[in-house]
């Protein structure tokens, strides 16, 4: 599972960086989205990958931290997703405004060459 997980993060990051360096604003925003998926997976992975150990203490159960997934990265990743979503939405608006004002979807606001 770890290898697959690492591979997924790697592929997302690689594609994200490549798209981020492209000249069209739409490519840049998709690249940023992929990068943020990669980072979210990374944060999640920092809590160690475990299966079937929800961090919930049922009534009458003895809480044992070793038998539970770490809840902190899950909280972090939720926050990061919300913030990433909001900033991506904001960037989309700016992208549309730039397209409207400059008449091109090049990141520099004019075609190169």
């Amino acid at each position: 599972m770890e290898a697959l997980f690492a591979l997924a993060i790697g592929v997302l990051t690689g594609s994200g960086v490549w798209l981020l360096l492209r000249p069209r604003t739409f490519q840049v925003i998709v690249g940023l989205a992929l990068l943020s998926y990669a980072v979210n997976l990374f944060i999640f992975g920092m809590g160690r990958l475990v299966v079937g150990r929800a961090p919930i203490v049922a009534p009458g159960m003895v809480a044992d931290a070793a038998q539970m997934a770490d809840p902190v990265p899950q909280a972090l990743v939720l926050t990061a997703i919300v913030i990433g979503f909001a900033t991506t939405a904001l960037l989309l608006v700016v992208l549309l405004a730039a397209r409207g004002l400059t008449g091109t979807d090049h990141v520099d606001g004019r075609e190169s060459g």
Binding site: L32, V39, T79, T87, L90, L91, V94, A98, L101, T102
Partner: protein, 557 residues
Amino acid sequence: MSAWFAHLPVVPIVVPLAAAAVILFLTERARVLRVAVASVSIVVQLAAAVALLALTTEAFPDIWSQGVGAYAIGGWPAPFGIVLVIDRLTGLMLVLNAVVTLAAFVNSLAYWDRVGPHFHALLQLLSMGVNGAFLTGDLFNLFVFFEILLAASYGLLLHGSNTQRVRIGLHYIVVNLTGSLLLLVGVSLIYGVTGTLNLADLPARAAALSIADRTLFDAAAAILAVAFLTKAGCWPLNFWLPGTYAAASAPVAAVFAVLTKVGIYALLRLGSLIGSADALAHLDGSALLRPDLFRGGLYYLGIATMGFGIVGTLAAQQLSRLVGYSVIVSSGLLLMVMGLDHPPLLAPALFYLVGSVLATGAFFMLTGMTERAWRSPPKPASAAAEPALLPAGGYVPYGVRRAPPVPEQDAEVGVAIPAAMAFMGLMFAFCVLLVTGSPPLSGFIAKFAILSAAIHAAQGAPWATAAWMLVFVTLAAGLASLIALTRIGMRLFWSVTGRNTPRLRVLEAGPVAMLVLMCIGLTVAAGPVMRFFESTAASLRSPQIYIETVLATEGSR
């Protein structure tokens, strides 16, 4: 300790948040009400910041005994709960932010707050994010507050959007989003390795790491540093900075002068705390992170940043870009000083930081005025004046049917000050003296103190060359900006063609004068101020008090 004092640290975050929410509920037409709410909020923030700063000094020894106070949000004890920590450096930065925000706020009332929606709400949120980033004692909240201040800064940069601002804004947002992702990677990696996010809990845990984990921790710290250096405007991560600052409207550029220092603050704080982890690690003989390498890296990055800033200063044709490059130069000098890691240099560097923020803030606002004076002669009563406003439809999504009327920038409203050209010339001269570090103002005192400490350190130290290099580069930067500013000043003030004297309102001229007067105040009171900075630097060098105070925080549960 009375209950009132205990809740003071949270005021600089809660008040602007509440003010921003209230302002959003008021319509664009209720401008007087919005301005009233915003001004009350800013005055309260300033008062709270000054009170917090005062409480950390020796003047009130019984409140926070050793100059550090911690506030447990939600009542959970550290390191499990989230804490706000106030020490001298934090208090200092809070006051600095409140002062610059106040100046920019008053300056914006003359014109800029009306060219687009929600200026005041965004300014409040920016202030909240900056205050939170200074106050937080927790790595993840540092990220959250960075995001808040960045999101607000995106809105402010685009305020009064024209083509230039939108184009630059796109770059600015993409660069900062990428930086934030790096910040997240660093934060989560540190959590994954040490199992804590609390800054005070970090040093002990980092010192206890195994060799393999320690390497990961060092990598995480380096990734974090890249994110902070991007914000601080360090070469080669600063190509976004001059264009952004030049494109922003004058009051916005003035508050942006504080933003680069948030990155510097984060580096100072983390350097102070993680540096203490190295000391611990050295003690048990397992020193792995080579602080000399990290610090040396900062030093060389600082030199490169200053070199970039000097070349940019000499090449800049517009005053606003030039001031942007001088922000870069000041960041570079601070990075060099941090890289040298020589204790006596720290206090002068803090003095320099405060003086340069005030000076560049004033300079950016002054730049807004000069740009008006030398704009091509105003076309009669058209909207040719600066901002190509959003079309009226742009307001509809915000629940406003019609864009509120925006007066011409030179319209005959408000109280104008006499002798506008003389005022601008005088303020320009003051700003040049402050930014270049020429005598007799505070810029000179700061640079003189840095140079004196560096030359003193160079006597016989093994890194004498590095100290002499600092002296040389600092002087070269001062000379370069003096040349560039003199050239632009001659073109602006001594050429008579193409100039039209603007009407300067008290509202826009006042804040510039206020910031310059504060710099003069720093000059006059240099002795006591420098002693305060020395105590601040001393507390940064001995983070044990910070760590113990935070970890001793009791929750109320």
